[in-house]
């Protein structure tokens, strides 16, 4: 078998050295009643050709976004990833290296992590960032737990604009903690609707944090500066969540709005859609909260020769030392995905990222304009970055299904994520990145128009 180097002779020599005749002598401690030759009933090994054929056949069944116009967002975004990114992350020294616990032979990873941490801090307008978490949703849950530890308070307010699956994750991961999670009723982004005012009214002396999303799940962009002030007055933390890091290049930073913790999904840059994973959670905060921050962190130092280098640091927060008192049970970060994010961002740079953000916004402006011109369709958002909500004259779910059969991925029926909200039945979440061009947009508009007439 191609991954197992030993020949029969090797095994014989080694067994002789150990003093055994049969390999099963080394498995004597397994209860005899449990030992079985069930492995013989499994399919036997396969060469690359057969494996590829089989997996290719499964892949071919799926409708890939590269083949069709795709207007899907809702927490995962399709951007063009430059060829350099994938080429570099496939270098064996990055792909097959371990967590950098032995810093002398991991300076490549550690320097890249230090650069990544800096990029995330700059992008979010915060003082520091960690080496990444599994994804945006678990980073959000960790931020909530952290706010509880810092303030020693119990109440958590989740805005109605927070991605519904993120809300679910926060509730699930906090269900056995002392925290009391208060959700809010989400509203479609009709003009004049601002739930930040109602959020402010609910803050009290038992509030650990308020969690808002920027832009929110429906695409709406709001200023949280005033909310930040109210939180500060009450001694609560402001947690700002983002799903689309490219948006941060176009907008005022969460840090400037008074966020205490900023978390989000980095998948847009470098990582790709991957049917939901692996992704990369970004986590940024203030220096004063450093010791309560979960996850790995790389720090700068010197070696015996006085040369600059980096190490994983402040390990006493983590599970392998603190065990049950750790800030989190997290062990792995999303190393290779964080590297991909960082490489993509280095290639883009300030200029490229800003340009990319503008292209995204313009694609959304064009799409919104075209859709808004169709009879019966209303674009609800007064502000948006690259995705917005439209109200159709009929249910969005069946329309999306029909268009999918016609090889157009038209958007996300919002009801799918809010099964209890009949009033969301006609709402469609439409995203447009730089990967859709004018003929895609025209095709979308024409197809929807056809379905509605």
């Amino acid at each position: 078998m191609r991954y197992l180097p030993h020949t029969k002779r090797d095994r014989e020599l080694m067994m002789a050295k150990i003093g055994i005749k049969d390999i099963n002598e080394l498995f004597n401690n397994i209860p005899k009643s449990a030992l079985s030759s069930f492995a013989k009933t499994l399919p036997s090994h396969s060469g690359e050709l057969e494996v590829t054929r089989h997996l290719q056949s499964l892949a071919n069944i799926n409708l890939a976004a590269s083949d069709v116009p795709s207007f899907l967002g809702g927490g995962a975004y399709r951007h063009h990833i430059p060829a350099t990114v994938d080429s570099l992350i496939q270098r064996g020294e990055f792909l097959t290296s371990y967590t950098p616990y032995q810093p002398e032979i991991s300076q490549g990873t550690l320097q890249a992590v230090f650069e990544f941490q800096t990029q995330v801090a700059l992008l979010t307008g915060m003082e520091l960032a960690n080496a990444s978490m599994y994804d945006g949703s678990t980073a959000c849950a960790e931020a909530v737990l952290m706010a509880g530890r810092i303030t020693k308070r119990k109440n958590v307010i989740l805005s109605g604009g927070l991605h519904p699956f993120y809300c679910d994750v926060v509730e699930t991961l906090a269900q056995f903690s002392q925290l009391n999670i208060e959700k809010s009723r989400p509203e479609a982004p009709t003009r004049g609707h601002h739930d930040t005012v109602t959020l402010e009214k609910r803050i009290n002396s038992e509030t650990a944090c308020v969690v808002v999303q920027y832009p929110d799940f429906f695409g709406l962009i709001r200023d949280f500066s005033q909310l930040g002030d109210q939180c500060k007055k009450a001694g609560a933390l402001l947690v700002i969540v983002f799903n689309e890091p490219v948006a941060l290049a176009a907008l005022k930073s969460p840090g400037e709005m008074g966020a205490d913790i900023v978390v989000g999904e980095g998948q847009s840059l470098g990582v790709g859609l991957n049917f939901g994973g692996p992704y990369v959670g970004l986590f940024a905060t203030k220096t004063r909260y450093l010791r309560q921050t979960p996850g790995r962190i790389a720090g700068q130092t010197e070696d015996l020769d006085g040369k600059r280098g980096w190490v994983l640091t402040l390990n006493a927060r983590e599970q392998h030392i603190r065990r049950e008192k750790a800030t989190s049970n997290i062990c792995t970060n999303s190393g290779l995905c964080a590297l991909a994010f960082s490489i993509h961002l280095s290639l883009l740079g300030e200029k490229g990222l800003s340009h990319l953000a503008t292209l995204n916004h313009e694609a959304a402006l064009s799409t919104a304009e075209k859709l808004g011109n169709i009879d019966g369709i209303e674009v609800l958002n007064e502000s948006y970055f690259n995705e917005f909500t439209v109200r159709l004259p009929k249910p969005a779910g069946p329309l999306v299904e029909t268009l999918a059969q016609k090889r157009i991925l038209a958007g996300i029926p919002i009801r799918r994520l809010y099964p209890d909200r009949e009033d969301f039945d006609n709402l469609l979440l439409v995203n447009a990145t730089e990967t859709v061009n004018s003929s895609d947009i025209n095709l979308l508009a024409e197809s929807i128009s056809e379905e509605l007439s």
């Binding site: 991954y3 499964l58 650069e115 015996l304 049950e324």
Partner: protein
């Protein structure tokens, strides 16, 4: 923090610092600039925006590099890393086996890599079929009928396992209060129990390095919700009394959770379900070869009995006559699920890689994996036992445990052995874990290493141990000396944290 990058005030390493193929590489912030980019994008049309009056007014401060500079920067960084592709990583409990390149190819097929998690399920039936096929393989290997694939890593898998157990017990009316954890356990075990609202109590190991059955029995009461153990355990030994252990646990109404980090030793030889285990996680990035990527991503699916299945986390992917279905919310169908652990379905990229690995090996290959892994570890044990003291002599499974007793008279520390190995071209073994052994050195070669590599490793370890003169010891305390950086000051890093670049950071050549 929105200043221009002040490149001119910072000293870039000079070429004098280069050594042949090793080239000193500064940070991107020390060489890039805000007006450079390695990407060409179409023209923008300068339309008025609809950003809600929140358009960014200042710079972020991100440096950009052209494509050639980017390639050089990261290629040079990569050359400062050790990797499986370069040599042996004898890290106990990590299972650093070869990462097959075929897995990288199939994971990148657009039909897997370019599909959105919220596409209509009718357009991603092949992806869901792949997920179910992986579940079937894991069922065949573990003996558990239900697999929860969404946990993102081993630690999240452990959390999933404990949450399932707690949900089951809460439904019975009493979640109970404590979780018993083997004292040799990985730190994630008690950290996870705490996240689940349980108090942790430790079960001691006996003189043979396995769980003390009597101590376990004396600690089991009706407040214990679960017992967490690793099997084979972190000392590299199979818990031979596992059936007695599981009986005792079940008799007290608790559940037996198995940390599957060491599954590589028994894959294809025995099914954990046949050992009385109720629920376990597997590490796709250990036993199933998905790459470590310098720290992640991993994947930690959880296998469980049918009694626990109703509590499994969302989403549920199931097969019916009308194809594959996705259940994303609690409702009539998934009433008792404990909830959603993450936004989407799981680490799909790792599922494709793991399935490719499983199909490539087949049942015969997987059994060979376990046999060769255990053979290799015992071969190392045989080669080292006269030179390194081993707290639990005798046959081990896929990893062998040494301690520092034989080093002490010579004046060596475990840390010095580890650093000396680096100069000889090996990544060190796991050190100072498990905590129950003083100066632990846990060595796991895995099955993808040749006999020649094992012989070289054994020779290197013997050479280090046999250094008994004070000069040699002093040299070992300065190791490594051949690496791009020598021992780094971890105390300084923790006492004076510098966790990001900022324009004030100066460097010296």
């Amino acid at each position: 923090m929105n200043k221009e990058i002040e490149r001119d005030t910072v000293k870039i390493p000079s070429v004098e610092a280069n050594k042949g193929l090793h080239i000193e590489e500064p940070l991107i912030f020390e060489q890039g600039s805000t007006d450079r980019s390695g990407v060409d994008l179409p023209k923008i049309s300068e339309r008025p925006d609809q950003l809600g009056n929140l358009k960014r007014k200042n710079q972020i401060g991100l440096p950009g590099l052209s494509e050639p500079e980017t390639v050089r920067h990261y290629t040079r960084l990569s050359r400062n890393n050790y990797a499986i592709d370069i040599g042996l990583y004898p890290l106990g409990s990590c299972t650093m086996k070869h990462n097959p390149r075929l897995n990288e190819v199939v994971a990148r097929l657009p039909g897997f890599s370019d599909i959105h998690p919220l596409q209509p399920p009718s357009t991603v039936q092949g992806a869901m079929a792949l997920i179910k096929e992986l579940e079937e393989w894991l069922t065949m290997l573990t003996g558990f009928p239900t697999i929860a694939l969404s946990p993102a890593a081993g630690a999240q898998g452990e959390l999933c396992g404990l949450m399932v157990i707690r949900s089951y017990l809460e439904r019975q009316g009493n979640p109970r209060k404590t979780v018993l954890v083997a004292d040799s356990a990985h730190g994630t075990n008690p950290a996870t129990a705490a996240m689940c609202g349980y108090e942790t109590k430790s079960i001691p190991s006996n003189a043979s390095g396995t769980l003390d059955l009597q101590a376990l029995k004396s600690r089991l009461d009706n407040e214990v919700a679960a017992v967490m153990l690793t099997n084979p355990n972190t000392c590299g030994l199979f818990e031979a009394q596992i059936l007695d252990i599981s009986n005792a646990v079940h008799n007290s109404g608790a559940f037996l959770y198995c940390d599957g980090a060491n599954f590589n030793a028994i894959v294809g030889k025995v099914k954990p379900a046949d050992l009385g285990i109720d629920i376990m996680h597997l590490n796709l990035h250990k036993t199933f070869s998905t790459p470590h990527g310098g720290g992640g991503p991993g994947a930690g699916p959880v296998a469980m009995t049918s009694a626990l299945a109703p509590y499994a986390p969302l989403p549920w992917i199931e097969h019916s006559t009308s194809g594959y279905t996705l259940t994303e919310h609690l409702g009539n169908h998934a009433q008792q699920s404990f909830g959603r652990m993450r936004a989407w379905h799981g680490q799909m990229g790792m599922f494709v890689r793991a399935l490719s690995y499983l199909i490539s090996h087949g049942g015969d290959g997987l059994r060979q994996v376990a046999e060769d892994a255990v053979l290799n570890a015992n071969y190392i044990r045989q080669g080292l036992h006269k030179h390194y003291s081993m707290p639990y002599p005798g046959t081990c499974m896929h990893e062998v445990l040494c301690d520092e007793q034989s080093l002490k008279p010579v004046g060596l520390k475990t840390l010095d052995v580890a650093k000396a190995l680096i100069d000889k071209g090996f990544h060190p073994m796991t050190i100072y874990f498990p905590l129950i052994v003083s100066g632990a050195m846990l060595i796991e070669p895995t099955e993808t290493e040749t006999k020649k590599t094992l012989d070289q490793f054994i020779d290197a370890m013997i050479t280090i141990a046999d250094h008994s003169s004070p000069e040699n010891i002093a040299a070992l305390e300065r190791a490594p000396i051949h690496t791009p950086r020598r021992r780094l000051d971890e105390t300084k890093a923790a006492r004076e944290p510098i966790l990001r670049w900022s324009p004030n950071n100066k460097i010296e050549t």
